[in-house]
């Protein structure tokens, strides 16, 4: 009897024990997912990585800072010798304000990527480098993904192309660089595994590795550690540099060229499957939607001569069904080899280019014949007063490149205005929407000038020339719009031309 009772008790307790509910499984952490490719400034402390700064015997460089709030900033230039301490400078910036810091005032040793750390935000940084014979500039990078895309490389004769890999972190990085060209995927010997020591950089001469290419796109993948890559393109007369980006389905280019330069758009896609891309143009007279459409193959980057679509200047928006990379490059006519297939009957004859003529020995030399203007006529840069005798517009000679803006935003910080001696600076504002944009432009700097409002009709852009810093004391600007707009900066002068993408406030 007792045995039976024991068996029953054991059975009941056993069932109870067995049927106890399990605890809730531990969920994944709420962080650590792949960061979004954020290029905007936020209200948090941030670090901006400027891959290409060079202050030396011939060149000058400036770190251009702008902030909405009072910030402390530390500019750090690592030493070429990783075992040496970096050089740094702390500065204070009252916000909203802007300030440019001469890199040479920190250290003058030539090429040296830099890091600008802000202890608050929103704050942004751009950089500009110039000499008597070149002018280039970059929007510095705040987000650091593991995979970067750099498009628009040219290693044809007359060009030199360098890939700069900047590792601002203590951890050594190991990256893999892959290329796709007009000939498809192109192996890069020795680029499967590049080591970049911590807090240093490596410069690879791509012209030597894969010469004679008209259109090369690169993918830089960090196997370990993190790097910030950029391309530096030199055509013998000017230099253009632009940082790596991610891929996006939308790219805005508020500026594509300045007078004297012809714009090209380079598109590239990685992965499998092609991308269907539509190109919208935004002229002073209004938008030309779907001005062009392309299928971008994953094995072949595409260079499009935008001047074939309309008379520059104009702004551009690239729309794609899948993420692609895009960059605008501008140079004198005939600078860029064309990889478009041009039928003989579409050849309209000679080029009328201003400035030096650089014509590579390939069908790209025919590019000038494609200068079939869709819309003849000038693009009025600004709303000049009527009745005045129009001055002969200045024509520039140089090489410029700029990745696009991913997002249109309502607020933009624009530092580095008017800082290059003898160069003209303009702020370009694209309104890609169907509504009129009212943009309040507030100078940032020492001046007590008040803000100015401008109106931008829907589907157009506006170029706002900026007076030199020496005249105004203001090296930056805060733009606030009632609707999302896109902003960029051009600096053009006898030295050359630089396009610098704007930095929105997220």
């Amino acid at each position: 009897m007792r045995r039976a009772a024991v068996v029953i008790v054991v059975g009941v307790l056993g069932m109870l024990a067995f049927t106890q509910t399990a605890p809730v499984a531990v969920g994944p952490p709420n962080f650590g997912t792949a960061p979004a490719d954020v290029a905007a400034a936020t209200g948090d402390p941030s670090a901006w990585y400027c891959p290409w700064v060079a202050a030396g015997a011939l060149r000058d460089s400036a770190f251009n800072l702008a902030s909405m709030v009072d910030v402390g900033a530390v500019i750090t230039l690592p030493s070429p010798n990783p075992t040496e301490d970096p050089d740094s400078r702390e500065i204070q910036l009252r916000g909203p304000g802007a300030r440019s810091m001469d890199a040479g005032a920190i250290i003058r040793r030539g090429a040296s990527p830099g890091v600008v750390e802000f202890d608050d935000g929103p704050a942004v940084t751009t950089s500009a480098t110039w000499s008597e014979e070149l002018l280039t500039g970059d929007r510095c990078v705040v987000s650091v993904p593991k995979v970067w895309h750099l498009v628009g490389g040219i290693t044809a004769e007359g060009f030199s192309l360098e890939l700069q890999l900047f590792n601002p972190f203590a951890e050594s990085a190991k990256v893999r660089v892959e290329a796709i060209t007009e000939f498809g995927s192109s192996p890069l010997a020795g680029f499967e595994n590049i080591d970049i020591p911590g807090r240093s950089w490596v410069t690879e001469d791509l012209s030597r590795v894969i010469p004679f290419l008209d259109n090369a796109s690169f993918t830089v993948t960090s196997e370990s550690g993190i790097v910030i890559p950029s391309l530096v393109l030199n055509n013998g007369t000017d230099e253009a540099s632009w940082p790596g980006t991610g891929q996006s389905t939308t790219w805005d280019f508020p500026v594509t060229s300045v007078r004297g330069l012809v714009p090209t758009l380079v598109l590239s896609k990685t992965g499998s499957g092609g991308a269907t891309v539509a190109i919208d143009l935004f002229t002073p007279d209004g938008p030309i939607l779907d001005a062009d459409g392309r299928i971008v193959s994953p094995l072949e980057p595409v260079r499009i001569n935008l001047a074939d679509l309309a008379e520059p200047p104009f702004a551009v928006r690239v729309r794609s069904n899948v993420p692609v990379s895009a960059v605008i490059q501008a140079g004198p006519e005939g600078t860029f080899p064309s990889t478009d297939v041009v039928l003989p009957e579409d050849d309209d004859g000679g080029a009328t280019d201003e400035g030096e003529e650089v014509t590579p020995e390939d069908p790209a030399g025919e590019e000038s014949t494609t200068e079939t203007t869709v819309a003849e006529g000038e693009a009025s840069d600004s709303e000049e007063g009527a009745g005045e005798e129009p001055e002969e517009p200045v024509s520039y000679d140089g090489l410029a490149a700029m990745p696009g803006n991913v997002d249109a935003l309502e607020r933009w910080l624009v530092p580095g205005l008017g800082i290059v001696p003898g160069a003209d600076t303009s702020v370009w504002i694209l309104n890609p929407t169907g509504e009129q944009a009212t943009v309040t432009m507030s100078p940032l700097g020492v001046s007590s000038e008040g803000p100015e409002k401008v109106l931008i009709p829907p589907g157009t852009y506006l170029e706002v020339p900026i007076a030199p810093l020496s005249e105004t004391g203001n090296s930056g600007m805060l733009l606030e719009a009632n609707i999302p707009v896109s902003v960029a900066v051009t600096i053009a002068g006898p030295q050359g031309v630089a396009f610098i993408g704007g930095v929105g406030i997220g």
Binding site: V6, V7, A17, A170
Partner: protein, 890 residues
């Protein structure tokens, strides 16, 4: 004639016989006696009429200074007790007799001996005076050997006169008592040359220890005698050294003369080994026993062999603890480096876990620290002693417990093996419930003593309850919730045997003992958050299906087949197992890690209570026959599986604990520049995968530990305080990507290293943490073959205590030590508490700011807690004292 010693009665008898009386033998020697010789006869000895005459005749004829009589057994006059003796080097007397040797005149020749028994000895009075007489502090045999050796050093001749016979009580049984042992040590120290003592004393120590171990197999407990003897010896050392000077002054011979009368080796050891050999011989089966019945009876025989195998098994299964120490994994962390520091921290000191607090440490820390201190502050030795000791005690205790119901030693030993190392015990070790592992060894003793027959006298009953309470108290200190296991399981036993008064008495005894044991948990019990203690973690043990089925088969089969008593024991065991499983899976009741450990302890106890009866049943050939024998065979087969599963613990040699993961992860800090103890390590990973308790931020786990290696007092984290909240906010900031200089922020918490622990195949947490820290400008990833992603903080001043002049202070116990800097303040980066000192204190943000005017800063002990700790210790001593006194005098 002088009567020496005794009380008033002795004095009265002396007066009646016109004899003198003197209090002690020394006085008798010193007294002004106009005599040449002194004949000492011990109380109770009956000399033959011619005893003295024979002694005097032989002594004067042979010019012997010391002459002794032949001693015969008072109760059996033909039985020889002593004809003088030789000794070994440890002064252990050796007669050379066989046991119960009869006097047939085989030793009737006057001869020189090493020593004579003290029952009847004739001394030259001048020699006795010169030597100061026998040493009154020694026991009889030791005093006799000592006196003779001192006499020999002076050139005296010591003879045995067999024609002088006396009858005396047989007191050879006292030869192994602590007083005799201690006396022999004192005797050695008095006479041997320093070079002899240099090796003889250590050998005596080891020899005695080995004898204590071997005595276990003879059913004797000699360990305390051995300890006491050495304790007495050390206490008496000053007077021993004084007596040595006197003894060796005026010596005319050296140690070689003493060695002439000594046998080689250790007499005591040889005696024990001989007895063991005899027992083994008695247990070996005869060659003609090949039948199944004989096999059954053989199983009952080799209890000694099985016991020896079990002992070897314990040594093998715990070998890694001896060589490496406790594996550092989960809640198992190395003991604190300094035992006294651990005791001090428990008794009102600072709790150093994380950023520190005043939350009391678990009692386990205090007890372990105390044991470690006793063991010469050797933590690895303490770890081994506790683990191996728990296993051995557990096996032995289970044997004793099961004997209550007639389970023989072999079956009990196998049950004991399952108890300490079977599936349930392995689960406890896998959960790294260190306290439960230690406590398990004592649980069967609590139960056994509770179940033992109640003594007749009240004093003995009180002593019994006190003994149970003392053991239960130690169980509670090791694992507080385990205190409830004995009374709860005995209650179940009483319910299963509802009419058995003895079972209910056991419940009462155990219950009373449990109540009496509770004060031992102070000061922890008075200050701990018990609800947090019960709910921290997750009580959900995954039932191993195969083991559960096998255990079920064993239980059911034994229930069916075994005789009634054994069947009920097995059934009781089965109830305990399933109850334990229920408790170990009680996460639904918001119960945590501690409760799970108790549940697992119940499971292991229950399994042992199933296995023992199942093995015993098969040996009961008369009671278990027919179909029941078949079913019992099934039970045995299942039990064999359970026993075999225990063998898995031999593989790693870690007593079932998982392999060490933290030593490799953290000890690299010792190789980094600077003093690692000055900084902390931030450990991050998946919840439940970090050392001890962890905290959660954004769904992932983190905690702070000390470099170079966290210790056991850091296992359990306290309720978050101001500093912990500040750290959590800082981590959220870093996780949110709001800074690129995480190192600078973390330096303020003394964090110099960040270790990202691997979380297994999915690596979700590892990758999340790695990506958080990888993009920081001032965190340098360390490679160099480290198994885990590790960062070093480049920011300056990533130390736990920093003076105003940027000098880092290093840890000293739970405090800090550094350079004296008058006028300079010191920031101690522990949770703010005004008891930090000495000197002026102020709170700086979440930390402490003190003056660096002394070279040490520490937390001022909380007096009330120290008092409670001392009171608890005193209470334990009192319980032990009550149990000893009651046992001795009942």
């Amino acid at each position: 004639m002088i009567v020496v010693g005794g009380e008033a009665d002795a004095r009265r008898i002396a007066t009646e016989h016109d004899a003198g009386w003197i209090a002690n033998i020394g006085g008798a020697v010193d007294a002004s006696i106009d005599a040449s010789h002194l004949w000492i006869v011990r109380e109770g000895v009956e000399p033959r009429p011619d005893a003295l005459g024979s002694l005097v005749h032989a002594a004067t004829q042979l010019d012997a200074s010391v002459a002794g009589s032949k001693v015969l057994d008072l109760d059996d006059p033909d039985r020889l007790l002593s004809v003088g003796f030789a000794t070994d080097v440890f002064d252990f007397p050796y007669t050379g007799f066989d046991s119960d040797e009869r006097d047939q005149g085989q030793y009737d020749v006057v001869r020189d001996v090493a020593a004579v028994a003290g029952q009847s000895v004739l001394l030259r009075l001048d020699l006795a005076r010169g030597l100061g007489g026998p040493d009154r502090s020694m026991a009889a045999f030791a005093a006799a050997v000592d006196f003779c050796q001192r006499a020999r050093l002076r050139g005296a001749r010591i003879i045995l006169v067999p024609s002088s016979e006396v009858l005396a009580r047989d007191d050879w049984g006292n030869i192994d008592r602590w007083r005799e042992r201690g006396g022999r040590l004192r005797a050695m120290t008095k006479v041997y040359a320093p070079t002899t003592l240099l090796w003889a004393l250590p050998m005596a120590f080891l020899s005695g220890l080995l004898q204590s171990v071997l005595a276990l197999f003879l059913g004797k407990w000699r360990f305390f005698d051995w300890l006491r003897a050495w304790g007495w010896y050390l206490l008496k050392l000053p007077s021993t050294l004084g007596a040595r000077r006197v003894a060796r002054r005026g010596r005319v011979v050296g140690d070689s003369e003493l060695f002439r009368y000594q046998v080689t080796g250790s007499v005591g050891l040889k005696s024990d080994i001989t007895q063991l050999s005899d027992r083994v011989r008695d247990r070996l089966p005869g060659e003609d026993r090949l039948s199944v019945e004989a096999i059954g009876s053989e199983i009952r025989r080799p209890s000694f062999v099985v016991g020896a195998v079990a002992f070897l098994f314990v040594l093998l299964a715990t070998r890694s603890i001896w060589t490496v120490g406790l594996p550092a994994i989960g809640y198992s962390l190395p003991f604190v480096e300094s035992g006294p520091s651990a005791v001090g921290a428990y008794a009102g000191g600072w709790n150093p876990a994380g950023l520190g607090s005043v939350e009391p440490l678990r009692p386990l820390i205090g007890l372990v620290g105390l044991i470690q201190t006793i063991l010469l502050d050797n933590r690895r030795l303490a770890e081994f002693v506790l683990i191996a000791g728990s296993w051995l005690l557990g096996i032995w205790g289970m044997v004793r417990l099961l004997r209550t119901w007639g389970v023989a030693a072999v079956a009990g030993t196998l049950a004991g093996v399952v108890f300490v190392s079977g599936s349930g015990a392995q689960a406890i070790a896998q959960q790294t419930s260190v306290g439960i592992v230690f406590a398990v060894g004592l649980i069967p003793w609590v139960m056994r003593l509770s179940l033992a027959p109640i003594p007749a006298s009240w004093l003995a009953r009180i002593a019994r309850v006190a003994a149970v309470a003392a053991i239960a108290g130690v169980v509670a200190v090791l694992a507080p919730l385990a205190l409830l296991i004995p009374p709860a399981t005995l209650l179940v036993w009483a319910l299963v045997n509802i009419t058995d008064r003895a079972a209910w008495r056991a419940v009462v005894v155990s219950g009373a003992a449990t109540v009496l044991a509770v004060p031992l948990l102070f000061p922890w019990l008075g200050a701990a958050d018990l609800s947090r203690f019960l709910s921290e973690g997750t009580a959900y043990w995954a039932i191993p299906t195969v083991t559960a089925i096998v255990a079920g088969v064993a239980a059911l089969s034994t229930l069916l087949a075994a005789p009634q008593r054994l069947a009920l024991v097995a059934g009781w065991g089965a109830i305990i197992v399933v109850a334990g499983a229920f408790v170990a899976r009680s996460v639904g009741f918001d119960l945590g890690h501690e409760v799970e450990g108790v549940g697992l302890a119940l499971i292991t106890l229950g399994l042992a209570l199933i296995v023992g009866p199942s093995f015993e049943s098969i040996t009961r050939t008369r009671e278990v026959g027919g179909w029941r024998r078949l079913v019992a065979g099934v039970a045995v087969a299942a039990s064999v599986f359970l026993v075999a599963a225990s063998a898995l613990t031999v593989v790693g040699g870690r007593a079932g604990f998982p392999s060490d993961e933290y030593r490799d992860a953290f000890t690299f800090t010792a190789a980094r520049p600077g003093d690692p103890t000055a900084s902390r390590i931030l450990v991050v990973g998946a919840p439940g995968g970090l050392p001890g308790d962890d905290r959660i931020v954004s769904g992932a786990a983190y905690r702070l530990v000390s470099a170079p290696m966290p210790e056991s007092w850091e296992t359990y984290l306290h309720e978050a305080r101001i500093g912990d909240d500040a750290l959590a906010e800082t981590l959220k900031l870093i996780i949110g990507g709001e800074t690129k200089r995480a190192g600078e922020l973390l330096a303020a918490f003394g964090i110099r290293w960040i270790v990202v622990l691997d979380d297994g195949d999915s690596d979700r947490f590892t990758n999340a943490w790695r990506s958080t820290f990888a993009g920081q400008l001032d965190l340098v990833p360390l490679g160099g073959g480290l198994g885990n992603t590790t960062f070093e903080n480049e920011a300056e001043s990533a130390v736990r205590a920093l003076s105003g002049s940027e000098n880092a202070w290093t840890r000293s116990g739970t405090g800090y030590a550094g350079e004296v800097e008058p006028g300079v303040d010191l920031e101690v980066r522990e949770n703010a508490n005004a008891r930090w000192g000495p000197g002026e204190w102020e709170q700086r943000d979440w930390a402490n700011a003190l003056a660096a005017s002394g070279d040490v800063v520490e937390f001022e002990t909380i007096g009330s807690r120290r008092t409670q700790a001392l009171a608890a210790a005193a209470w334990l001593v009192a319980l032990v004292g009550f149990s000893w006194v009651g046992r001795r005098f009942s």
